[in-house]
Symmetry: C2
Subunit: 191 residues, 2 copies
């Protein structure tokens, strides 16, 4: 039996990413975002929802650029802190979270050094929807820590150890066991 719960945004699971931006005076900022996704293949685009009151919102509008950074589970406390506190109230939030930044190589935004995967994004569309706008960035470059890649340059999921966010219990999780290979296991189904 199904039960109706009203309107709730239950995407399960979600990532727990850090959005890196520079303010107009060049101060780096980072905000946690679970509301993000790939939104196009050609060109490669990613989108992220940002609330108008966030410092990140003003920064993206000003610099037309942002980074999406994939943290590992060891950064969970810092990730949570960066989601609770806005750079509008605490400009030193990155320092408090003990996170370091370096300028991205192709866009005017900072990457978070400790995050093993960093996507550099150029803003190409802004979609105002209400409390949030959906910022679409074209991916210009990706940087990945050598420590999470195997000898063939393939990113190893266990080494990467990405942080998962489950919105229904508001908890962070690790990735569990593999249940199969995509674009493969479904091929056994047929009429």
């Amino acid at each position: 039996m199904k039960k109706k719960l009203g309107a709730k945004p239950l995407i399960l699971p979600m990532p727990a990413l850090l959005v890196g931006t520079y303010s107009d005076d060049g101060t780096p900022n980072a905000m946690t975002a679970a509301w993000a996704a790939v939104c196009c293949h050609r060109p490669f685009c990613v989108g992220v929802a940002v609330r108008q009151s966030r410092k990140t919102f003003a920064n993206v509008e000003f610099k037309k650029a942002f980074t999406l950074n994939v943290p590992n589970t060891s950064l969970a406390r810092a990730v949570d802190y960066l989601g609770i506190v806005s750079g509008a109230q605490e400009p030193g939030k990155l320092e408090i979270a003990k996170l370091e930044t370096v300028a991205a190589s192709k866009v005017d935004a900072p990457i978070i050094t400790q995050c093993p995967v960093n996507m550099e994004c150029q803003l190409i569309q802004t979609l105002p929807l209400g409390s949030h706008s959906w910022f679409v960035g074209q991916v210009a470059e990706v940087q990945v820590s050598e420590e999470v890649m195997d000898s063939d340059g393939v990113i190893d999921t266990k080494s990467l150890d990405p942080l998962i966010y489950i919105t229904t219990d508001s908890k962070y999780y690790t990735v569990g066991e593999s249940v199969g290979q995509a674009f493969s296991m479904g091929k056994t189904l047929s009429r």
Copy 2:
């Protein structure tokens, strides 16, 4: 050390959802989508990227509605199949995947009965980006299987057992262990 990999859309992790739609003649269809996210809080909106060639694309444009359905890991093989095969080539794909549908309560789209969470979405924006368009739906209703809720009506993550997709190794995973409570564990950080 970081290594540059060029432009890649590395959101990690991703969900593995089923997008439910009706065609113009009322035939139910479902497509797997890992490229989906919440994109607004007020009103509650979710977005999903769909390639123009997909039957789902025509269906959403025609009916102005879709559902996002959260499968559990027992449905991994069916989910993978629904991602490989388009309803444009195989109108009977739901039958082959042994999935059943029922009409959503508030929008003109089918929900996938076996998925424990179903979001009913009314199309409010379409953002063409290139190979894909980003469909934004306002969430009209959510239906959840009673089996995945505890006695207080809270969705239990272990019972829900949502499917995770990791794009870098193209594998499906289970949710692992909890690493902390969101909007809480970060509060211990301060100057």
